[in-house]
């Protein structure tokens, strides 16, 4: 369970995040949506303990992310940022092996190797295992990083704009994979998305933000309505429906 309590992040006088309360629990995909600078990534990054809040706390399974031992947290929450540039050269398999670091501290057991194999298999990466990451395409690299998250085997997975720089096919594949993390592995997935339609189609719950605040929270059908969209994106849009999910015709405006 991810429990956000009166979380505030300020840079100087500018408040970029002001989130009094938010609870995300159980298996499923929660999408954070909003315009640029709405505070989605800030919220996610603080929850992933990569950024210190100005005040307030995020609890993951009751552990305060700013004070709990990092090693303990690493077994509960994995975060994947937008830019996945590594300072060193790794093969796909080496990267996925690092996913086991919280448990093995670098010395992999047979069980670790087994879980690495499983993660590679899950993401259909077995034939890429010996390839170096810098030789892969953006979509394949993204998959390798998701495989590392799968190997880390945490109940909570935080993904910051995982579809950035992916073409249509790879974006669709990635979303299907993210769906599987929730459906097949029972994980609590929180994903920052800038495409409202992707969120509406794949997420179980949408949290919409504007100016650092949460302005709407609910199922796609509850959140993706014309009035809320105007509120969140400052744009009048037509909304239609596809397979029972709302589709925003934002390009029509």
């Amino acid at each position: 369970m991810i429990d956000v309590r009166s979380l505030v992040k300020r840079y100087g006088d500018t408040t970029v995040l002001d989130c009094p309360e938010l609870t995300i629990d159980g298996a499923g995909v929660t999408a954070l949506v909003g315009a640029n600078g709405a505070g989605k990534s800030t919220l996610l990054t603080i929850a992933g303990r990569l950024l210190e809040p100005t005040s307030g706390t995020v609890l993951i399974d009751g552990h305060d992310v700013s004070t709990a031992p990092s090693r303990q947290l690493a077994a509960r929450v994995a975060i994947l940022r937008q830019e996945n540039v590594l300072a060193v050269r790794l093969t796909v398999r080496e990267l996925v092996e690092f996913g086991r670091f919280p448990y093995s501290q670098g010395r992999l057991t047979d069980e670790d190797h087994h879980l690495v194999d499983r993660a590679l298999m899950t993401l259909d990466l077995h034939e890429f295992a010996p390839r170096r990451l810098d030789e892969l395409s953006g979509g394949q690299r993204q998959r390798a990083f998701i495989a590392a998250v799968v190997a880390q085997d945490t109940d909570h997975v935080l993904l910051d704009e995982p579809l950035n720089n992916l073409d249509l096919r790879h974006a669709a594949q990635s979303m299907a994979m993210i769906r599987r993390l929730a459906d097949d592995f029972g994980k609590t997935v929180v994903v920052v998305l800038h495409d409202i339609n992707v969120a509406a189609h794949h997420a179980d719950r949408i949290v919409a933000m504007r100016d650092g605040r949460i302005v709407a929270d609910g199922t796609p059908n509850e959140v993706v309505v014309a009035s809320t969209m105007r509120d969140v994106f400052g744009l009048d849009v037509e909304i239609t429906e596809h397979r029972g999910r709302p589709v925003v015709l934002h390009f029509v405006a």
């Binding site: 990569l50 796909v92 092996e97 690092f98 670091f101 077995h126 034939e127 010996p130």
Partner: protein, 331 residues
């Protein structure tokens, strides 16, 4: 092709064979260098000559190991492979400490103070500088080589300018005595200091070795390491304190050797093709000792002390530094 790959167990996993071979080769070179240095052209009293040379070998090993391991640590926590502690201002700081102390206490009085006490003082100042460096620059410039290098240039320049200023205030006769202490020389190594240094370096190496896997994770980058459960801030702080110890010992022992760590660490990265500290740290440590002993041997036996090992290493290291810098630009 892909069928063959599938058949390999754990294809793509890290294979240590290359790193092990590199470590073994460097180890053999080290033994050869020590043997050559100890036995070549022995004259006069055998026990006296051997004891003298053994002392030098121990000193050079400490210096080579300290500087090389400090450089690898610094590379990992700063996220670059070009800068070294020396280039960040540690060498200039050493000179400043010596000069200021000589001014405050008088050069001869200062040189009369027990070396071990002087050593502890130097260590404390350098440790303080390392932690300041970590706090002010490393945390903000993570991975930004250019910014970090500018900081190093500015700090080195400032320390040198201050040293020059203070040096002008010192009596010229005393200054000559002081200057002798400022450049690396293995001819006059203090025995008491040698023992204290060995203990310091050994303890530091134990701590480094215990951190080796955590350092691997830190090498991936700050955020990846955090996500994998490494307390990066703490690891960096400890690593920088170790850098201070591992740099302070060689400089206190023999003076400054600017480019040794840069030379050995990059040669080892190139040869082992890995960043894994369980291989790069022993390899660069032994390589550091080997290069020093080898250079000193050549200079003592073939150049008849007409030049200093530290200067030869600075010359080649400087060239290597420029090459690495140009390579980084192209990337």
């Amino acid at each position: 092709m892909s069928a063959d790959v599938d058949a390999l167990p754990r294809a793509g996993t890290f294979r240590p064979s290359r790193s092990i071979v590199v470590n073994a080769i460097i180890g053999v070179c080290f033994l050869l260098a020590v043997t050559a240095f100890m036995t070549y052209d022995l004259k006069g009293s055998l026990s006296f000559a051997l004891e003298l040379r053994a002392k030098k070998v121990v000193a050079m090993t400490l210096v080579g190991v300290g500087l090389s391991v400090a450089t690898v640590l610094f590379h990992t926590v700063s996220g670059n492979r070009i800068l070294t502690p020396a280039l960040m201002g540690f060498d200039a700081l050493y000179i400043l400490i010596q000069t200021v102390a000589a001014y405050l206490f008088g050069t001869f009085a200062f040189l009369r103070i027990d070396v071990r006490i002087r050593f502890v003082g130097e260590l404390a100042v350098m440790m303080g500088f390392a932690l300041l460096l970590n706090h002010v620059f490393l945390r903000r410039t993570r991975g930004d080589v250019v910014l970090l290098m500018l900081a190093g240039v500015v700090m080195s320049g400032m320390f040198r300018a201050l040293s020059n200023l203070v040096a002008r205030l010192i009596d010229p006769n005393e200054f000559v005595a002081l200057q002798d202490r400022l450049f690396a020389s293995f001819s006059s190594v203090d025995e008491q200091l040698l023992l204290a240094s060995t203990v310091c370096v050994a303890l530091a190496l134990v701590v480094v070795w215990r951190m080796r896997y955590r350092l691997d994770a830190v090498a991936l980058g700050h955020e990846h390491a955090t996500s994998l459960g490494v307390d990066v801030d703490r690891t960096t702080k400890v690593a920088m304190a170790l850098v201070a110890v591992l740099v302070a010992v060689p400089t206190a022992l023999v003076g400054a050797i600017t480019f040794l760590g840069l030379l050995t660490s990059n040669a080892v990265y190139l040869a082992t093709r890995t960043f894994r500290h369980r291989y790069t740290i022993p390899a660069s440590a032994i390589a550091g000792a080997t290069v020093l002993i080898g250079a000193q041997f050549v200079i003592e036996e073939f150049f008849e002390f007409n030049t200093r090992a530290s200067m030869v290493i600075a010359f080649f290291g400087g060239i290597a530094f420029i090459v690495l810098l140009l390579k980084e630009q192209r990337r």
